[in-house]
Symmetry: C2
């Protein structure tokens, strides 16, 4: 069918035209409510009126940026990339990917499993919830999806086909270039009001060494095609409970540097860690977060290397080319490179959330203004160290030192 | 028209159906001869029987590797990439690009200016010809084409469109991955017989540090999208005389790392330099070649930076983001990165020409077997140093030291 923007009144009829959805609801009457709180799209929950255990999520892209309105046009083709990424994730890691009932690129729409017992991780972290399975889950999600879409695994021609599939996600890549790597580090109309008349903001905007290093990372973002990335993997793109973890919202998906997704996860966990100096003073929870960060990296590295060890023959390293000891040395230098990029990207992701558009609730939600300013300063200090020193990080311990040596 | 393989008998009639060609020959009778000596395609020279100043070149791709035959299928789509690259070169640097009279992707065919007073550079170097304009020309060609197709100049979305245009040149990229970065460094059926029972070949195949470094460069080749590359810019892809320089045969064109093209030029000049220890003992000509290598880098860097300085606003660095001094620091670190990659890729390109398929005449054409083996050893030594030490090169002088400290 031709593209049409759905609303609470029209969506149920539309859904009943889809066989898999009809089967799921087995003929029940339906009711829809719009629940989207994101920046880009409309999101509906559609529930059975006859069986309150049955519900699905419908996400539809509109041809503009939702949080601004139709004065900010943005191609709805972004949904095609989200659909393709979800399908790729479902193939590699079905346990961490919502089940898809319908994906329609023409309608820029996807119908997915409703995660009724899961919450957005950012909120969980604010509420100091401990997630005993998260490190295991997210490290597996990252290792599987990054490894399997990289040149370490894919044949060279399959890798180029993958690039073809995502290379047109230009508008969203441009948003990242602007909002993650640029505008939040200089006076800009899109920045938050908290940047005005603020010493820490000024110290960030004036820190030329930081900004030079950001350029290196931005250049990598623009020109390094390691693997299929989620592209926006902060704690607001993760839904979880004690037992299960789901990654959602990959509309920024594209083929880019390994460290960008891992850095997004870690940078946002560091922001939560910092926030709890001012929100709760809960040292135990902070200790949990620091351990979590370290475990995520260590588990990611372990799982990634296991996958790599099992791949004896690839376009990059054909069997018999190199001896085992040298292969291991190469792998270990390769992983150090991913760690360095991870730290650098984590720093960019943290720093841009402080004064740029779309700040994080962890920090901006601190009600006391003085406390909030202290948290901002603390976060900016860690972010600056991450970005300025990413190239000299040799181990996860070095990264932890950059977090800890915060002068607080 | 549908694709059809042309031959000496059918090509003239085909050409007379093309208006621009008919005009060029103004109704003269034509004669065609096949003159291709390359590995991939058929090349015809088509001459006027009435006016011996008039001739054109026709290059047609066949759906297999010409030097092997139809048992080695290779998509003729490669000609589409050659056509697109030639058009891009003609836009940026018409003085160094043969004029195109007809480009037909369906026929996998291009009709070009005949370079009647120019010779293939590799032969000129064997004959010890001095080219006073070459450094100026090739540095301009490289600076203009690399800069203008990079993220330093193109808007982010235009850059991704460029990638779209060349990303399907998969088969030829795979040939490079295999033949430039892999097979020539291990026992392989495609290697030259000279690899058998040869100490230097064995020392190359056994040098794990070298091979580990090659993997880093191969990974960059596969995953770094700096700019549109020629992809095969050795001295056999350059036609010139004292006054003019033309770059031909860009069928390997794709979007890859800056240093790959510059490294191809420099690596092949180093091979010529080495060959003259054994071919001619002509120290003066060797001095010319060393100066030429240094000048090419210096002029490339100067021209590239001039273009960059003129580009005040780009997707990477928007105006007002950074102060001038820091911008210069960033640029200078960026250029050092290109130089390092150049040295690394030059080393790969040199090393693979010694024992791999398609060796270079400069070395393989040395008739005395002992002399040839000495030349091979000498070339391999420099190539190893280039590849093992590329990451610590800080200046063009460092590169010259790696050439000179050859123990000869």
């Amino acid at each position: 069918m031709a593209y049409e923007i759905l609303n609470e009144d029209t969506i149920c009829e539309y859904l009943l035209g889809i066989e898999s959805v009809r089967e799921y609801f087995s003929g029940d009457a339906l009711v829809a409510s719009e629940i989207g709180d994101g920046n880009l799209n409309f999101v509906f929950i559609v529930k059975s009126l006859d069986d309150d255990t049955k519900a699905l999520i419908v996400k539809q892209a509109v041809p503009y940026l939702r949080c601004v309105g139709d004065s900010f046009p943005l191609s709805r083709k972004r949904m095609s990339f989200e659909i393709r990424a979800l399908q790729s994730y479902y193939d590699a890691t079905p346990s961490y990917t919502p089940k898809i009932y319908e994906a329609n690129e023409a309608m820029s729409l996807v119908v997915m499993e409703y995660l009724g017992t899961h919450i957005i991780m950012r909120q969980g972290l604010i509420d100091r919830v401990v997630y005993p399975q998260f490190a295991e889950h997210i490290s597996e999600f990252l290792a599987e999806n990054l490894f399997k879409t990289s040149s370490l695994s894919l044949q060279s021609s399959a890798k180029r086909e993958l690039i073809d599939q995502f290379n047109s996600n230009r508008e969203l890549c441009k948003l990242t270039e602007d909002f993650v790597f640029t505008f939040g580090f200089m006076p800009h109309e899109t920045n938050d009001d908290n940047a005005d008349d603020n010493e820490t903001a000024q110290s960030l905007f004036d820190d030329m060494e930081f900004k030079k290093q950001v350029l290196k990372l931005k250049y990598k973002f623009m020109n390094q095609t390691d693997a299929l990335l989620h592209g926006d993997l902060h704690t607001g793109s993760i839904m979880l409970n004690a037992d299960e973890t789901y990654v959602i919202d990959p509309e920024f998906a594209f083929v880019g540097p390994f460290g960008f997704d891992i850095g997004a996860v870690i940078g946002n966990l560091v922001l939560s860690y910092v926030s709890h100096f001012y929100r709760s003073g809960d040292e135990k929870y902070q200790g949990y977060l620091l351990a979590l960060i370290q475990t995520i990296w260590n588990e990611f590295e372990k799982k990634f290397l296991l996958l790599w060890d099992a791949q004896k023959n690839s376009s990059l390293i054909i069997e018999g080319y190199i001896d085992d000891a040298t292969r291991q040395e190469y792998q270990s230098e390769f992983m150090r490179g991913i760690l360095q990029d991870t730290v650098g990207f984590a720093g960019c992701k943290m720093a841009r959330r402080i004064y740029g558009i779309a700040g994080v609730e962890d920090i901006r939600g601190i009600e006391d203004k003085q406390m909030r300013r202290s948290a901002e300063k603390h976060a900016v200090e860690i972010a600056k160290r991450f970005v300025k020193e990413y190239q000299s990080v040799e181990s996860v311990e070095d990264m932890m030192l950059l977090i800890g040596a915060s002068g607080v």
